[in-house]
């Protein structure tokens, strides 16, 4: 590897990592009830395939993927489905979504698991199917179905990059995973490398995680295809585009994918999940979650079943402190605030951060933009955040696109340094969703217009044809009504014309 590259902007943040990575990962055990959401990933929600009162076994599929970009959902333990109902979701919109409520029977009984062949003997496309069936999605927080990213679609993959940067403050779940379950990551890396037929694997880790680095380094000596790369700590190194730039000096094209550079990026925890799916026939039913922040008494990392209420995890972390002010899922930079802790954890829940009022930024602390340009200095995409803000506010969508709004990765660096405390990222999200909405509308209008035009044209043509037919008939009548021969000929011609007309009409329809 050797040479590293730099990305523009970025910021150094207080890390607060040592708050939660001092103790071993704890196991949450089986909660009294599990609330397993059907919508935990990018793409349409899974379709519920169990019914109320049904007994389910651990690992049994309870929601199946409906479309290509979607993921199935599994029962995290054995028990009874007691209801399927709407429940507060761990989503920025806070709209309730369908959850399957399972009452565990305490036996934690697995469904029958048939051992698979060695991964090396499995065809890559079959590997992708198994990963898909195991419901594995990106565990870095985005929750994009993993099997899609294990398809090289004709590219010669130069490298699979395993993202262990974990650049957001407070979060340490990947750090703990790398320290204690490094073997799982390596096994997962081998499987993924096989699926992608990738030349090499690079595990990238920020240099503030020396223990994780030394845990993984020995594997790099063992396998010539593996590199463990220490990278400088600077938010947002863990952003896919930034990470690729650091490692290769190349930029993912705008609106493109890492695949365009013959690269694939996966999170380290996703690699471990792939290992469990292939080598242990275990679907994605649990994950490590960092429960931390000044608002909980004893921050720690917990391995929890998907569907465990967040309040259970908070209790395990000693409960709230008196000045706990807000609950955030994800890191402080890109996380979302939740209204209630009865919300269940989902596959994308990497961290529960409980903040206190001193981190307050809201309408009362916001001032006007003074165009100081601090945001320009820190933007890792080299955008002009102050212009994007200006045009979002004035709903000037053309200018927003001309200023490349859609290249924004929503990392929040601009908002962090803004002396006016403007919620810049919220403005960009608003701008993006408005533009999407408008595009959908234009698309619809275009289709309607095309349909109308086609109909008018068809009607015109039919009219013209009918006119021509009448004229022909008239002419024939005038020419020789006495000759039977001509009459017959005319009749044949008429029939032919009618047939042709009918044919064209059916074609039009």
């Amino acid at each position: 590897m050797g040479r590293l590259f730099n990305f523009p902007g970025g910021i150094h943040l207080e890390e607060h990592k040592s708050v939660s990575n001092g103790t071993a990962v704890r196991k949450s055990g089986i909660p009294a009830r599990l609330f397993v959401p059907l919508d935990q990933h990018i793409g349409p929600a899974a379709e519920c395939i169990v019914s109320k009162g049904e007994k389910v076994l651990k690992g049994q599929t309870i929601g199946s993927a409906t479309e290509y970009i979607s993921a199935p959902v599994h029962a995290p333990t054995s028990g009874t489905v007691i209801d399927i109902q709407k429940f507060p979701a761990a989503h920025a919109s806070a709209l309730p979504s369908d959850v399957v409520i399972i009452e565990p029977d305490g036996k934690d009984e697995w469904q029958t698991r048939t051992p698979l062949n060695n991964y090396r003997d499995i065809d890559p496309s079959e590997l992708r199917n198994i990963v898909r069936g195991a419901g594995i999605v990106g565990l870095g927080g985005a929750a994009f179905p993993t099997f899609v990213k294990l398809n090289p679609v004709g590219h010669d993959i130069k490298a699979l990059i395993l993202n262990g940067a974990e650049c957001e403050p407070w979060i340490t779940c990947d750090d703990m995973l790398m320290r204690t379950r490094h073997g799982d990551i390596i096994e997962g890396a081998r499987v993924m490398r096989h699926a992608l037929q990738a030349a090499r694997v690079i595990i990238a880790i920020e240099d503030n995680k020396p223990q994780a680095i030394s845990a993984l380094k020995p594997y790099a000596d063992k396998y010539e295809w593996l590199t463990v790369q220490e990278i400088p700590t600077r938010y947002p190194t863990g952003g896919e585009k930034q990470l690729i730039r650091i490692l290769t000096g190349q930029d993912v094209p705008s609106h493109g994918l890492p695949l365009d550079l013959d690269l694939v990026v996966q999170n380290v925890a996703t690699a471990a999940a792939v290992h469990h799916a292939i080598n242990e026939m275990q679907p994605l039913i649990s994950r490590i979650i960092t429960v931390t922040g000044p608002g909980v008494k004893s921050p720690c990392n917990i391995e929890a079943l998907i569907g465990t209420p967040m309040s259970d995890l908070i209790d395990m972390a000693g409960g709230y402190t008196r000045d706990a002010d807000r609950l955030i899922m994800g890191g402080p930079m890109m996380g979302i605030t939740l209204k209630t802790d009865v919300t269940p954890v989902i596959k994308a829940t990497n961290c529960l951060l409980v903040q206190t009022p001193d981190a307050k930024r809201d309408a009362t602390t916001t001032r006007a933009c003074i165009r100081c340009g601090e945001c320009v200095k820190v933007c890792p995409m080299r955008l002009l955040p102050q212009q994007l803000y200006w045009y979002s506010r004035s709903r000037n969508f053309d200018q927003l696109q001309r200023h490349h709004l859609f290249d924004c990765i929503e990392c929040g660096c601009c908002a962090e340094v803004c002396p006016s405390h403007i919620p810049l990222v919220q403005y960009y999200r608003f701008g993006k969703s408005e533009i999407w909405k408008k595009e959908q509308e234009t698309l619809k209008a275009d289709r309607a217009r095309m349909r109308t035009e086609a109909r008018l044209e068809r009607e015109e043509r039919i009219k013209a044809e009918r006119k021509a037919r009448h004229a022909r008939a008239k002419a024939a009548k005038a020419a020789g009504s006495d000759s039977k021969q001509t009459e017959i000929k005319a009749a044949v011609a008429r029939a032919k014309a009618r047939k042709a007309e009918q044919k064209s009409a059916t074609e039009d329809a």
Binding site: E14, I328, M333, G335, K339, G373, M381, H421, Q426
Partner: protein, 349 residues
Amino acid sequence: MDFDQHQHYSPHIPASSTVSNVMLKVVLALVPGIITYIAFFGWGVLVNIIIAGIAALGSEAVAVALRRQPVAPTLMDGSALVTAILLALALPPHSAWWLIVVGTTFAIIIAKQLYGGLGYNPFNPAMAGYVVVLISFPLEMTRWNPPLSLADAPMSLLESFQYSLTGILPERLDLDMISLATPLDVMRTQLDLGNSLDTITTGNGIFGIVAGTGSEWVSLAFLAGGLWLLFERIIDWRIPASLLASLLLLSGLFSLIDSSNFASPAFHLFAGATMLGAFFIATDPVSASTTPVGRLIFGAGCGILIYVIRTWGGYPDGIAFSVLLMNMAAPLIDYYTQPRVIGQQKNRS
């Protein structure tokens, strides 16, 4: 447990800077220059600052209240105070109170609040206010008091106040004794009359070592304050650097071609409001360019215009006009100097 329904903004970490903080640091950076100014030219400038400060905060409060917005947080952001101090420093010390009030209220109400307040003003408010009084009251704007070393009987703080508020001078003084043309003014007029540089500066006490007795030290103090702002990362280096560089290059070029008819680069850099303008006025973020390349162009444009106005224009100093002219160009400059976004092939604007 349920949490407060109202929306918190990400990022969820304590904020590292505030607008008030930025403005406070700008004021702090001006202090050495103000002290040096008082030391060399007497209390007049302090009286200017006090009157302008009161007028600025008062008119801002009225305007904000009329716009039905919270008054206290707006006054607390400190931007009105910065405008007041910059304007007070630009006016001749011992200016009449009404002149200061007219300039300041114009700056705050017309140039700032009528456009929507802080952040929305296309022009630098202090310079807009300055230009209004410069054009409206040309005579008053030429009455600069001499440095203390050249004055016969300097006024006390109380006398300065009294003069500014009532126009009554202490008995021992008359108007001629407290009004003198600035080095920039003398230089201009004399060069226009066809005198050579040597004859102008030789024997004239106001020229000091390179650019003006007292004023060159004030400039140095503003330079120091400006460098501190750079160090504190409150301002970006690009505007001051390109402004000073372009002024240096132009004055150096003309001085090389004809050293007896064009003032030296050192004179241009340390005379008048060059340093104040480069670090404190042209860097006003609201009305200046914001893109990295745009800032270089903006600063260079200011520097070029300053030299052109000083050398061939109708006014002895050109900071205010150059900054205002470049303010007009700032949106256009920003538009055409967008950086190439990561992943975009060619910057098509």
